[in-house]
Amino acid sequence: MIEVEHLTKRYGDLVAVDDISFRIEKGEVVGFLGPNGAGKTTVMRILTSFIPATSGKARVAGFDPFWESLQVRRNVGYLPENVPLYREMRVSEYLFHRARLKGVPACERKRRVAEVLDRCGIREVEARVIAQLSKGYRQRVGLADALVNDPPILILDEPTVGLDPNQVRLVREMIRDLGQRRTVLLSTHILSEVDMICPRVIIISDGRIVAEDSAENLKRRIGPTLEDVFVKLTKTADVVGHEEPAQEGRR
């Protein structure tokens, strides 16, 4: 469902994403890990056709995010980092607007919005103005927006940031549930989360992939916990250089 080949993104002299390649098959839930500034958000923005890549190729749902961006956008539910929302709108009003924008037919809109309201646990705030909502609710409104047209691919940038432990568990279970039928790429800092919901992990550091494997394999090979794996891989990338772990990841 998602194919990335030799993708590179430069902002002036800064190389944000440096020649990365990976594949995500249909129905996979993949965790995208990496320190801040590693290039996770950039990759996600390229895949959702928000920004173009400097070079390299990507295909999402069989379409090119640059040349066939409308088809890509129709197939992807995207939750950006920090969850930007129209603050002056009410929750259900916002979701209706997004459903209309995403081409949900008029006769289905009511049902779809009701479904995501229930699914994301925001039924009780549907009539509230978004500006007055807590961070946890806003995060779930963003998630509801990503789900409203029932897309086959979900790209979620830090979906559990700012949530309390109960909400984290709720969202985590939801993503696991969603992963039954959909392809999910999610980025996060919370390693225990990845361990629980993502069978496969891609770790990137300084714009390069330093490891790509199942969480189990990584733990067996590199360290007892995923945290050790993360620290080791992203640290060596800083100190020693990228070549060795990068090759290891790509074998």
């Binding site: 902002y11 923005r45 959702t48 056709s49 928000f50 920004i51 173009p52 409308l70 956008r73 129709r74 992807v76 995207y78 950006p80 920090n82 930007p84 929302l85 129209y86 603050r87 002056e88 709108m89 009003e93 607007h97 997004r98 209309r100 924008l101 995403k102 081409g103 963003g142 927006d145």
Partner: protein, 244 residues
Amino acid sequence: MKNVSALTRRELVAYFLSPTAYVVLMVIVLLTGYIYFDFLSARREALILPVVRVTAFMLMLVAPLLTMRLFADEFQSGTIETLMTAPVTTVEVVLSKYLAALFFLLVVLVPPILYAGILYWASTRSGGAGPDAGPILAGYLGLYLLGAYFLAIGLVASSWVRSQISAAVVTVVILLMLQIPSFVIPEDAVDPLSRAIRYISYTNHFYDVFDKGILDTRHIVYFLTTSMFCVFLTTVVVTVRRWR
């Protein structure tokens, strides 16, 4: 283009939910109402021309307030990311925002239009023939074209800068600068360059034309083409800002 109605609807909701809209409407009512009343009661002149002229002046301050939010806010709050990752094209987004602003401009012009209505009502009631409709209609058409042109410039500014406040300031500065050529270049200048520069200035195309009741296609074309060019420019700017 099927998304334009959904997007325009959302922009209009945003207009009517923000205090700016009501402040703008109130200021328009107060100032144009005062001018109208002053001419009518103190000078005993039943004229619409002063109302048209003061509204034209006020549009220069009102338009930036109506356009500053359009794109600057999307970029500032990051909602441009959810907007442009939905299946909509940049052209649809830009057009929708402009259409919503144009619609709101209609609302802004309601009070000045009411004054003409009152004049007509008062005149016919006392047995008169009513005011001359030609100049009034031309004046209001001119006001709308002028407003549409100001909004188009505000739209570009809003897509260009980082914050709403700077969008408003940049718009006012551009609108003031666009007046300069009509002051420094005499009306009877003959060399093509001076004439071309003078042509850019919108004041020549509004004052002593529309407000005098003249409908001249040259000036209508001026407002329509420059507005369309600004809409096009906005599309380019929004695309480029995303691509950098």
